[in-house]
Symmetry: C2
């Protein structure tokens, strides 16, 4: 699966969050692009990038309940009508569209009665409507609230959650999560420091054991269900 | 009342709709500004414009279910946090915020199950959230659908409706509408061609008569209500 990460941030060099996310990118099958770094948007190139991607991630800080102007400029320029739905051809149909949005407020602020008074889903409704128009599949939004307040363990968890959001099979079911960890755990452990290697291998063994336990449980459940259906 | 009309359109010279709306502006107490005509946004000047206005109108074509990038750039640049709600000062509090939005689709498209699949209210929710944050009063949106398909009578009605949206006291009640026409009818008739003047004066007389009739009716209604309350 090819994932295209389109980042919109007017001052990306000053953004610790964007620096962190860039350093957290999975190693393979990722294209990363910063929209505002381009003085002129090359429409043909951008459209080609979209065509070759299976999952498209729009990543930005929430400014006034929407993406920064740079992303809107990209939409207004790159997403021409003829490209998105001209002649009843939908080149983006079936691709997944996900949003990684960072905010300076806690999650609780984004609800009726909260400090911001609207949900992130409501704020992102215009983008979701674009996805719908293009016959794309909208992914549940990946929100990062108050990044600078996160402690180290929370940041490590964020790396994994972010990598999964970019590359894991959707929906985010137990089965798909297991498959993802199965594929990535060995590489993750190999990257640990020397003194942490044995702990890492213990985790891997425990993971495999739990996976076997789960499969046994699922078989048992299936058997019970079969008897109930009789 | 001072009304500030902020127009966002990337190719305003090519827009017949914007040309028509500009020609339809009321004669007095209107400031009109085209955002994209300014190479660099003068933040202090823009903020001063906002401070002196009682009603602020954002006027734009709907691109991808939102305002064009130019308006978002204006928001991201001019609406600094310190200006909008810094130090618990809210310089925009109590001012009215209205949106004049033009679309290429019919009104019916903007509903669940319609071709666009979301309401204009849903598309404009991020702007409404800005108004809420600034403690402004959100006006019902003034939408112009498929302007180029309007015939002459519809266009004339649009001129009046637009002028009322920009200058009439809110809410758009019968009383406020009457007061607005009372103030404007004489000027409107004076602008008619020579041969239409007598028709104009007949309309004015009929309007005044109906107004008197209405007042009599309202008095009668008040009397009936009083008796019922006894």
């Amino acid at each position: 699966m090819n994932t295209l990460v389109l980042v919109s941030h007017p001052q990306i060099a000053d953004s610790g969050t964007q620096e962190f996310l860039k350093a957290s990118l999975p190693a393979e099958n990722i294209s990363w692009e910063h929209i505002e770094s381009q003085t002129v948007l090359d429409v043909a190139y951008e459209q080609a990038q979209l065509r070759q991607a299976d999952r498209i991630i729009l990543q930005f800080p929430l400014y006034w309940y929407a993406a920064p102007a740079g992303l809107k400029q990209w939409e207004d320029t790159v997403l021409t009508r003829s490209f998105v739905y001209g002649d009843h051809r939908y080149p983006l149909a079936g691709k997944e569209l996900g949003v990684v949005v960072t905010t300076g407020m806690p999650a609780e602020a984004f609800q009726r009665g909260g400090a911001e008074g609207l949900t992130l889903d409501a704020a992102l409704a215009p983008l979701a409507a674009v996805a719908q128009r293009a016959k794309m599949t909208w992914l549940p939004t990946f929100a990062i609230h108050q990044f600078s307040y996160l402690d180290e363990p929370a940041k490590l968890r964020l790396v994994i959650a972010y990598q999964r959001y970019l590359t894991q099979q959707q929906p985010d079911s137990l089965k798909n999560r297991q498959a993802w960890f199965s594929d990535h755990l060995a590489t993750m452990i190999a990257q640990l420091a020397e003194q942490d290697q044995s702990t890492g291998r213990l985790i891997e063994e425990a993971f495999k054991q739990k996976q076997t336990d789960l499969e046994t449980l699922q078989d048992t459940l299936a058997m019970i269900k079969e008897q109930e259906d009789d």
